[in-house]
Symmetry: C2
Subunit: 337 residues, 2 copies
């Protein structure tokens, strides 16, 4: 085992799009667990859109990321040493271990991972927070009925690709929006989306959506916001439901954006527009996880990962994810243990 | 009984704020009921914000008002002659009789009015569509809990004044926004709103609301939209609920307005924003009406009417209502029968 623990700290609060200089690599000794603690050797880190919000000083639903501290985030790894009665050496665990090679934990918020069920990396993706987010956002907030048209933005990301497939499983017509042709091919050909388009190659979002959604849109699972969302709303059918899961198009702006006023459509179409966080459904994870695992084992739910190598690549992976360079779940492999 | 029936027709589709020349007064003979029909002598017409939307060519939730036809709208009156087994001469009825002095009806959508319960004009206000709109929007969409802060825009209108009072009855702190000092005095002193402000005398909506809502805003009953709503959203508490009942600030614009993007707040505050129409609750009117009547009789629910005199004043009353000149329900008295 190495004796140094490399960590990525937040060095400065970004304005607009984050820069590599907003982060700093630090090295310290590998920590030792005290009584009631265990040491985790990280296998994979997760980089996620929500992290951008936490880098701002303003409190939103979570406290801001502190400056000069290890970047917070989900990670999966192996228990290397334990003085905790509930966690044994050799077990795999997922938790908020942060952007580092080794973490100490008291078990708070940590869940054991069964490596026989699926590769452990899925605990950060389709069988983890993104999968649960897709599950509850789609089934609880959108609540589509068979035959309805469901549009997903950010459709090739970890959450969007899962949400779209769940909508397919529920018998919906699913239309995806993503930002490059490889992504479009993946969600159309491998995931079975009924239609999809590359918004970076398409000037007229509204017209394209209208063509792909001849019966209008009943549900919209929004990861993106901004101009794409402006094009979706006028196509929403009466009684439509919009799950606001992310607004990544707006996370890196220097100042708040303005846009079309959507509430008149919310009124005349009697829409329900709901923001949600996966943590709101914590008491129902026990329902969702086995269902996601079953769909995965049955081959009805597919996933893809984009994996960067080494802690030194965590920042580039994060910035690339914000630019939409990943297909499926963006991970950083820290160790192949 | 007079022999002529004066009617107001829609002469042209307005662009922007409607003009008197968009309407035309017509005269015809008083119609006679055929078998299965009855003749109503109108007592009061209702003029309502939703009518502005129907004057546009585009279909929203209802078909557009047809040109050169009698303006549609709710009215209450007396059955003057009947060849319908279900309606007898002398009974009072409310229905979509339109902007005219006399109407023929086959009973479709018509409800009898008990003049001993309350003045018949209330069937167009607190005990009619506006009262039911307030009831369901507040109790079903906002669903406030005792002690929560509820903000109502358009708070001195027929719907807003009722919604605010129902929130008070439910034990909420109620803050109203309206457009003149007489309205503010009425909702504060007579209706018991906890706080209120005149947005036309206040340049900084956000700061004023923040002062009046020290615990943030849990529910927002929105009749207005635009800049007022932009100021409310950043003060919404996590899990807050927004009922979109009207967007009158935006009805008379020449072209669609742009404004602050609200969905990022919908996300991080996990808000539910829902547009609704009273007709969605038609199967629950039987629950709401007796409750509204009981509160009225108990003196817990108060109302006020602004009454224009004569069919010739229907158009000025409608335009004045769009400008916010009414306090409480705007009516037009057609006959004192």
């Amino acid at each position: 085992m190495a004796t140094t623990n490399k960590q990525i700290l937040l060095a400065a609060r970004p304005t607009g799009f984050p820069q590599p200089t907003d982060f700093r690599l630090a090295e310290g000794p590998v920590p030792e667990p005290a009584a009631g603690e265990f040491l985790v050797g990280i296998s994979y880190l997760s980089v996620d859109p929500y992290m951008r919000g936490r880098m701002n000083a303003a409190r939103s639903y979570a406290d801001p990321q502190k400056l000069d501290e290890v970047m917070g985030g989900g990670a999966v790894g192996k228990v290397l040493a334990s003085r905790h009665p509930g966690f044994a050496e050799g077990e795999f665990v997922v938790g908020m271990f942060g952007w580092q090679q080794y973490a100490i934990s008291d078990g708070g918020g940590v869940v054991k991972v069964d490596p026989r069920l699926a590769p452990i990396s899925t605990s950060l993706g389709v069988l983890g927070m993104p999968g649960l987010t897709a599950y509850f956002g789609l089934l609880d907030v959108c609540a589509p009925r068979p035959g309805e048209t469901v549009v997903v933005s950010g459709a090739a990301g970890a959450v969007g690709s899962t949400a779209g497939q769940i909508a397919r499983i529920r018998g919906c017509r699913v239309v995806g929006i993503a930002g490059d042709d490889h992504k479009i091919r993946w969600i159309r050909e491998d995931l079975g989306f009924d239609a999809a388009f590359n918004y970076k190659a398409e000037a007229r979002f509204f017209e394209k959506l209208k063509e792909l959604c001849p019966a209008g849109i009943d549900c919209y699972f929004d990861n993106v916001g901004g101009a794409i969302t402006d094009a979706v709303f006028p196509l929403m059918n009466p009684g439509g439901r919009v799950a606001i899961c992310g607004q990544i198009a707006l996370y890196n702006l220097d100042k708040p954006d303005t846009g079309a006023r959507l509430l008149p459509l919310v009124l005349v179409r009697t829409l329900k527009v709901q923001g949600f966080l996966v943590f709101q459904y914590a008491d129902r994870y026990g329902e969702a996880f086995p269902q996601l695992a079953r769909w995965l084992q049955e081959g009805r739910l597919k996933y893809r990962e984009t994996v960067a190598e080494g802690i030194e690549n965590a920042v580039p992976a994060f910035l690339g994810m914000l630019r939409g360079e990943n297909i499926g779940k963006q991970l950083v492999r820290i160790s192949s243990r």
